[in-house]
Symmetry: C2
Subunit: 156 residues, 2 copies
Amino acid sequence: MHMSRYVESPAEMLCFSLYAADHAMGRVYRPLLEPFGLTYPQYIVLMELADQTLPLRALGAAVGLESNTLTPLLKRMQAGGLVERRRNPEDERALMVSLTDKGRALREETKSIQACVFEATGLPLAELAALRDKINQLRGNLQRSLDPKKDPAKTP
Amino acid sequence: MHMSRYVESPAEMLCFSLYAADHAMGRVYRPLLEPFGLTYPQYIVLMELADQTLPLRALGAAVGLESNTLTPLLKRMQAGGLVERRRNPEDERALMVSLTDKGRALREETKSIQACVFEATGLPLAELAALRDKINQLRGNLQRSLDPKKDPAKTP
DNA sequence: TGCGATTAGATCGCGCACGATTAAATATAT
DNA sequence: ATATATTTAATCGTGCGCGATCTAATCGCA
């Protein structure tokens, strides 16, 4: 018995609001990132690697992507001189990914982007933070619904 | 002067929470839609066309996509027998898109999906509705920041 | 009437996202 | 010690998303 009702149009659906807002965000970012030759997922990787070297797998866990997406993305970033990819000598399976000096410099250059995006949201910072937390809570719930085994709330 | 501060990691960024939550939602939908041979954008189109025939352009405005994405998507749906694509005799530029009987039947069949997604969110309906409205407000702000001309709030 | 501008879709190229599969390195179990 | 299982990236095929461009139909206006 669900306390729900059938929704008739995409406009009423939470999934669609996420989908459309994500695309709108992408359209805001695109012209801001284009001068730096970055796509949005590349920008996220740049942020994530700013202060650490990670194996591809851990990087993927952080950004929510797997090798089938990250391998070509990282190769493009490597071709642009932004990242280094080298095997871990202790475990030749693992590919350690880190920023080059050029990558770190680019991250510094892109620091002004955040303020532009903040402005484009048209919402006060406190609301944005609350919204982010709520969306993260939703994401956590969705992920747990797919993978109930790794639920830290239920591991005694 | 912005009442903001520089954020160091993707995990703190609203854009990333949207990006990741949208992907998580997609991962919930995928196995639910796969038995029907639908992708998520196709499912949205199916919902949008349920009770109306629309020119491609208007359909695109409703779902946030343009002809370069919709044309191949609709051709795949047409190949599956779900939609009809015919030119408007009054204006041969416009392509009128509508569901076939098979398309309407498929929409009926997919009605059970919503309850599964609702459950996966793990949030009460009132919170989902509030979150959706907040995200839609954000999306409206982002879109207006890109296209300030069509702002109904400032047209006298 | 005619011709330039506008509008609507279609097409192309590139990059992301993911299911499925593969190959190689490492862990394990006997 | 060796066979088996697991883990890690890479690869492949398909579909979405979008900037840029093209063609055709329609509109506007002198």
